[in-house]
Symmetry: C2
């Protein structure tokens, strides 16, 4: 990239195609990745990141769709990062089942990006941090991070959010399932969606009960809000609850502290990724010339001792002993 | 481990607690991991690995339960590796919802192991290969690898199987969903479970149609079998279809070829893991003494340039330039 500075200016100006291109460059591990993210980083600090997770079928996509409309009505710029660890696809165009959101795609103040698993060196949560910073630098005031399902990858991804909203709906076993899946530990607020269906109040009560039992003295008690994507109700309450949590973080000095603690962890992850990339390249160069790999391919040797030999050789080479 | 040789003998004799302990040692990345797996490897070649995957609710666990009983009735020793990427738990005792299988737990010819995601350095599919070899060395003739769900991790795990059975059931959109999720590319045979429910024949027809369209000239056409865990029917047909695929692999010379190709890939993964482990240790030692990490923690610096510095320093150190 010859003209990095000009490109950075375009991203900072919120130029939609440049933002999309920046994300693609970073996702593809282009050589410009590090310089680009270093240049954008100082401008990526203000966005508020709201994570939205919960079991499939809870209506998260509709909720996100309505949140976008709500935030746009206040003239806020909105980024959406839809993360699906079960999808191999990554990109701007492929929105999977998130068809509804497409109506916002032409809005100049809305940036939607979906993200699958394929080809993210350091994992999905690592990659999503980078994308988040690009969206923030592009001028998004709020970034909604939506995940499908409640697997470990989803929990990890939620580690990038300032506030995590867990969406449940009136359905047998839902609450208990969510609590079992480790969701409780990351929830800053609960959303009972499909509140027009019978049983919504029971779910609200169940959540409160769980909170009473498990977190009686926690400094932050997650609020529980009811929404109905069907009726379009409760979105304002959801947003107010999120802001409450944001205020709490800021009041307690946790806002910056949490972000910086994560960034320090990121340094180690990023450094490891850089080293792994470097070593993988060297490994490929080295392995071809070693008999170990050929021996495994011919069924003459176990992969474990071969790996020990290959790794040992590489370290020796690095240390100038070979 | 002072007496590796004696321990290896116990594992090879199929001593149940030793097999379990070997798995735990390997999962915990104990120093004995490599020597142990190197010793077991030559004895881990004969087991047939049947992968069983499909969307949640398809009744995979009941199916596995009945397969165990069926294989035991032929006096085959059976290993079961139940992989759940959404569960943080790993271990012998925690079988999650797989309660039914517990009835086999006391059978000396059945080895059941469940596996979650936590703490597997090289990922779940990497770790499951090691566990598979231990089960095989312990004398299992057949190893059933069951995954919940159909996410990317599940697809990766299925890469360790000789034959992959995809389980579907009569339910709206199931077939299309499965094909969308990339399941089709890994299926060697299809199982339509809950065949006692209405709509089973429609699912069978849909699968055949999909196969006609997508794989009209493939050298192996995946058979479609109907089972009913409720009625206990179809297990024999399922097993015969699996054996058909195994015979096909052997006839075409693919059996050993595929395994060796995977093992060669494994060498690179294992070598990378060894290097990453070594480097992570060195990184931790190095990072503390570098100002970069402190600067990030104090909000004075972006994580990207800090990571570049940390990684660069480490390589310099390795190369004896610092």
């Amino acid at each position: 990239m010859q003209d990095l500075e000009r490109f950075v200016q375009l991203v900072l100006a919120g130029h939609k195609r440049s933002v999309a291109r920046a994300i693609s460059l970073v996702e593809n591990e282009a050589p410009v990745k590090f310089p680009l993210l270093e240049a954008l980083y100082p401008h990526a600090q203000k966005a508020y990141v709201l994570g939205i997770t919960g079991s499939p079928g809870a209506g998260k996509s509709s909720l996100v769709d309505q949140l976008i409309a709500y935030l746009r009505s206040m003239s806020l710029r909105v980024g959406v990062l839809a993360v699906d660890p079960s999808s191999p696809y990554t990109g701007g165009a492929l929105l999977g089942d998130r068809v509804r959101m497409i109506r916002h795609a032409t809005d100049a103040g809305v940036y939607i990006r979906s993200m699958g698993t394929r080809g993210h060196l350091g994992g999905l949560s690592r990659a999503s941090r980078d994308v988040l910073r690009i969206l923030a630098a592009g001028g998004c005031d709020v970034i909604l991070v939506e995940t499908v399902g409640v697997g470990q990858s989803e929990l990890d991804v939620m580690g990038i959010a300032d506030t995590v909203a867990v969406v449940l709906h009136p359905g047998a076993g839902d609450v208990v399932q969510a609590f079992k899946a480790g969701i409780m530990e990351i929830a800053d607020l609960y959303v009972v969606n499909k509140a027009d269906l019978p049983g919504a109040d029971k779910v609200v009560a169940e959540i409160r009960e769980m909170l009473d039992v498990s977190k009686p003295h926690a400094p932050w008690r997650p609020p529980v809000v009811k929404t109905s994507s069907q009726e379009g109700s409760g979105i304002d309450a959801l947003w107010q609850a999120a802001l409450q949590h944001r205020d709490y973080l800021q009041r307690q000095g946790l806002w910056a502290a949490r972000r910086r603690e994560r960034e320090a962890e990121e340094v180690m992850e990023l450094a490891r990724d850089l080293l792994v990339r470097d070593l993988t390249r060297r490994l490929r160069e080295t392995a071809g010339s070693l008999p170990a790999l050929r021996e495994v391919r011919e069924g003459l040797r176990d992969p474990y001792s071969a790996a020990r030999e290959v790794a040992g050789r590489l370290l020796q080479q690095l240390e100038g002993r070979a």
